[in-house]
């Protein structure tokens, strides 16, 4: 009765294999590396950059262990080196080689540590766990995005759109007012109101229109549609995330984490950064946008050699094409209330831009006489301008216009994002900050590891002394538990934090419960006079119901932490929940497998090595129990 079918043993072997393979990457350590990523949103890192890196390193006779292109969310090229010495040399070399103008770098060259996982493990997608900031040191910021300000700006924009639409269609109104989140449009008679409603419903589809008022004091109350409201909020947060990513890139942090948390918060984690004030400075910087006219007194193609007229400036479009622009802006980013990727009447990708307030009038004044001429949009950051796009004016532009001829949908969404970056950045505030020194991080790892190791050793020794062979089974099951838990965490690419290590330790401390339950049960069955084989079988079966119940209750607590916890607590909760699941496998399924393997084939088994079984002899009641 104590034999596993072959498939169960196979399952155990597979689980062990999985555990070993995916735990393994955590032991290889890290090697010094240099990471190259783009410093400008207009420049993309691709495999060509990897080749250039290789060339530059070869010319400098530095031999990297490997150069690889990583096409992730933030594409980068990573060159790995044997020691920190070459790493330092390579960084200086690459900075010189890749960036022609040191004052205006095109690429960011940063130090990094790359895991030394062998290729064959990487091809199995076996990677080490990430270490949280409390273990490796760095800065953590939690930023609150001021959604109200975003909405306010959007409504302002819509208000002026409404005004210009009504004017264009010659619909007379009695005034347009803002009232909180509502736009009120006043009318004298119902006819005009109906006409206005029809026009507005077609032209400004983001608004929800409602009639109000009576007599000759008629009103149309416009509110932002729920989906448009949501879109605005989403865009606001996404916008800030992309702005933050660009700025963080500049800090030269190898693996920054910029994540949304909840509806209106952004987490920024910068591992390894110690200079908090510089980080704050760069993160808190603002970008501005300007629309300028192209100075056509300079012949196209001769911009670099020609003398630039007084009142004009030379700029570069993206990677390099020069363009001369007037210094006087037509309008600034403040007037842009929205920019989104869209399609023109020919279904070609385009970018739609909405202007608010006086923006429409200014644009009209500026473009009326300039049809056929070129206009440029420039993004200023750190006082340096970069031309995002140059477009030919096809007709007089108002408060809503499109930039067409984008080529691809990707290009149009990129441009929309950049336009918003310069104009729509919602105010942000740092509401949480954590800085952990690298020494403290290393100390935390050691302490967490020591605590787990000594606790584990103490429990294992106790179990073996108290339950002998079955204690050994339990100790082995416990180590399989750690193995599986770490393997699962590594496969999930979870971030390990100190509370996470504490959760691993606690998971082990709690997992022993199942083994104790089983061992005590087997002893009890033996005490009650069952044969050793029967005792093993009944012991495991009876203990199972209890183990299940108790693990479910623990799991409920773990899930509650997972749902309501944030930050450090979440890390704890994830490990806690996973630990419960792996412990069910190891303590019940695996340790039974060991017992079956050892005892299952012995037909004439007379005793079990489970420690001394003490039987009450004289007690009457106990006798009754046995029979």
């Amino acid at each position: 009765m104590n034999r596993y079918p072959l498939w169960k043993y196979s399952l155990i072997v597979i689980a062990l294999l999985f555990g070993t393979l995916y735990t393994l990457p955590n032991f290889f350590g890290e090697s010094p590396a240099v990471q190259i990523s783009s410093a400008k949103s207009t420049i993309k890192v691709d495999s060509a950059v990897a080749e250039r890196v290789q060339q530059i390193l070869q010319q400098g006779s530095l031999a990297p262990e490997s150069v690889a292109f990583d096409n992730g969310s933030a594409p980068s090229v990573r060159a790995r080196f044997a020691n920190t010495d070459t790493q330092f040399k390579a960084k200086t070399l690459l900075e010189k080689g890749l960036n022609t103008d040191p004052a205006d770098p095109t690429y960011i060259v940063a130090f990094n540590l790359l895991p030394n996982t062998p290729q064959w493990l990487q091809s199995l997608h076996a990677f080490p766990m990430y270490l949280g900031l409390d273990l490796r040191g760095g800065v953590h910021f939690l930023m609150q995005v001021d959604i109200k300000a975003v909405l306010n700006k959007r409504l302002q924009g819509l208000q002026s759109s409404v005004r210009s639409v009504l004017r264009d269609k010659n619909i007379r109104h009695n005034g347009i007012n803002r009232n909180g989140d509502q736009i009120e449009i006043l009318f004298r008679d119902a006819d005009t109101r109906d006409k206005a409603r029809n026009v507005l419903a077609g032209e400004v589809s983001e608004l929800l229109l409602q009639d109000a008022g009576s007599g000759d004091d008629l009103k149309l109350i416009a509110t932002l549609r729920p989906e448009a409201l949501k879109q605005t909020q989403e865009d606001g947060v996404k916008q800030n995330i992309s702005t933050l990513s660009k700025r963080v890139n500049e800090l030269g942090v190898a693996e920054p984490i910029i994540q949304r948390q909840g509806a209106d918060r952004i987490v920024v984690q910068l591992p390894g950064v110690q200079d908090v004030s510089r980080a704050k400075d760069i993160i808190g910087r603002t970008a501005t946008l300007e629309v300028r006219m192209v100075d056509d007194s300079v012949t196209r193609g001769t911009e670099e050699s020609a003398t630039i007229p007084f009142g004009s400036e030379l700029f570069k479009i993206g990677k390099g094409a020069p363009v001369v622009l007037y210094k006087d802006p037509v309008l600034t980013g403040d007037y842009i209330s929205n920019a989104s990727a869209s399609f023109d009447e020919n279904h070609q990708p385009a970018v739609s831009i909405d202007l608010n307030g006086d923006g429409g009038r200014k644009m009209r004044d500026a473009t009326r006489e300039k049809v056929g001429k070129a206009m440029a949009i420039v993004l200023f950051e750190k006082g340096k301008g970069e031309v995002l796009t140059v477009a030919t004016i096809r007709s007089e532009l108002g408060s809503r216009f499109q930039i067409t001829g984008m080529g691809s949908a990707e290009a149009s969404s990129d441009l929309a994002l950049l336009l918003r970056a310069g104009s729509l950045a919602a105010p942000m505030e740092i509401i949480e900050e954590r800085t952990i020194g690298p020494q403290l991080g290393a100390e935390n790892i050691r302490k967490g590891f020591d605590a787990t190791l000594y606790g584990f050793a103490a429990m294992a020794i106790f179990m073996i002394v108290y339950y002998q062979l079955f204690g050994l089974f339990s100790a082995l099951a416990l180590s399989v538990n750690v193995l599986l838990l770490i393997a699962v965490l590594s496969t999930l690419q979870a971030t390990l934090t100190l509370p996470g290590i504490a959760a691993i330790a606690l998971a082990l401390g709690m997992a022993i419960d199942s083994n104790v339950l089983i061992n005590e049960r087997i002893r009890e069955e033996l005490r009650n006079g069952n044969s050793p084989q029967a005792a093993i079988s009944i012991g495991f079966d009876r203990a199972w119901a209890t183990i299940l119940d108790s693990n479910v209750t623990t799991l409920i607590a773990g899930l509650a932490l997972l749902i309501f916890g944030s930050g450090a607590i979440r890390g704890f909760a994830v490990v806690h929940c996973l630990g419960i699941l792996t412990s069910m496998f190891s303590a019940v399924f695996f340790s039974r497998g060991l017992a079956n393997l050892w005892y299952g084939r012995k037909k004439k088994l007379t005793s079990l090595a489970i420690g001394q079984i003490w039987k009450p002899k004289t007690d009457v009641k106990a006798d009754v129990k046995v029979k």
Binding site: T435, F462, E520
Partner: protein, 314 residues
């Protein structure tokens, strides 16, 4: 080796009243301290700034305090922590002040005093985060309690569910009482420990109740009354209870000794939880279940088909 050589069922339930009185007293004391002293919340809940700085030689706390106070902060705390070289500085949340700059001002002032000082850790939490954490913490507690009641009511019977939850909430209050009495810092990790303990010590009640159900079903114990069945269940699981808790406690002690300051109060909360967990879930939960009047019929009826499988095994 066998630690527990119990000849017959120990009549725990005869003393149920005493246990309940002891529990009630500890509970009242804990509530009293919670109300009179309150919890010493970490800045995660209250908002504010905590800095840890390290010196190369033992730090002069008095000088540090003077220079921090000299910056115009009120209610600051400066204390050494861990070793004589490590100092912890707390600045409360101040409304209207750009709190994100506080830590930089302080470290600049300390650097002026002694250039060897290094910043180990800064933690700044805005006041808006703290309120949310408190709210989420309470929600998590509510979810654990409700979840466990539902699960136990479904697996056993409502009387057991109520008994287990009351017993374990009383643990939680007692842990909090300790934190209030000693004014230990109550941080997010401590909250995690408290909730983990809640789930863990419900286990104890579950193990006992499992035995109760088994005994009610088993014909051999047919003549035993409810309190006798409870006694039998507790007696036959006491060895497992103590060994399990002992083992878990070994791990927790290891964290307490080797885990450093970050895990200190986490381990303290777990230790108190584990010790009181044994007592409350075994004695208090069983006693409450008895007062609520558990009967054989409560458990036998709904799970009749399971009887047969159990019988087949024996």
């Amino acid at each position: 080796m066998e630690f527990f050589r119990i000849k017959k069922d120990i009549p725990f339930m005869r003393h149920a009243l005493i246990f309940n009185v002891i529990s009630a007293l500890t509970f009242v004391l804990a509530v009293f301290f919670l109300l009179s002293r309150g919890l010493h919340f970490s800045i995660e809940f209250t908002g504010g700034t905590v800095m840890e700085v390290a010196y190369t030689k033992p730090a002069n706390i008095e000088n540090i305090r003077n220079s921090v106070d000299g910056l115009g902060f009120t209610d600051t705390q400066v204390q050494s922590f861990g070793t004589a070289q490590d100092v912890m500085i707390r600045l409360p949340a101040q409304h209207g002040v750009n709190a994100t700059q506080q830590s930089e001002k302080v470290i600049a002032a300390l650097k002026a005093q002694d250039p060897d000082v290094t910043l180990q850790r800064v933690e700044f939490v805005g006041p808006q985060v703290g309120d949310e954490l408190a709210h989420d913490g309470l929600m998590a507690l509510a979810m654990v309690v409700i979840g466990i009641v539902i699960y136990l009511a479904f697996r056993f019977e409502w009387k057991f569910a109520v008994a287990a939850v009351i017993a374990n909430l009383h643990d939680v209050v007692i842990i909090l009482g300790f934190f209030a009495f000693f004014q230990w810092e109550f941080s997010l990790t401590v909250l995690a420990a408290v909730l983990a303990v809640l789930g863990y010590s419900v286990n104890e009640s579950v193990v006992v109740f499992d035995r109760v159900r088994e005994a009610f079903r088993d014909r051999r114990y047919g003549k035993l009354s409810a309190p006798e069945v409870l006694n039998h269940a507790i007696t036959s699981t006491i060895s497992r209870t103590i060994i399990t808790h002992g083992s878990t406690e070994m791990m927790v002690l290891s964290m307490l000794v080797f885990g450093g300051p970050t895990l200190h109060y986490f381990a303290v909360a777990l230790t108190i939880g584990i010790l009181f967990g044994i007592y409350s879930s075994v004695f208090v939960a069983a006693a409450i279940a008895m007062w609520l009047g558990v009967k054989r019929e409560d458990l036998i009826k709904p799970t009749k088909p399971k009887d047969e499988t159990d019988g087949a095994v024996v």
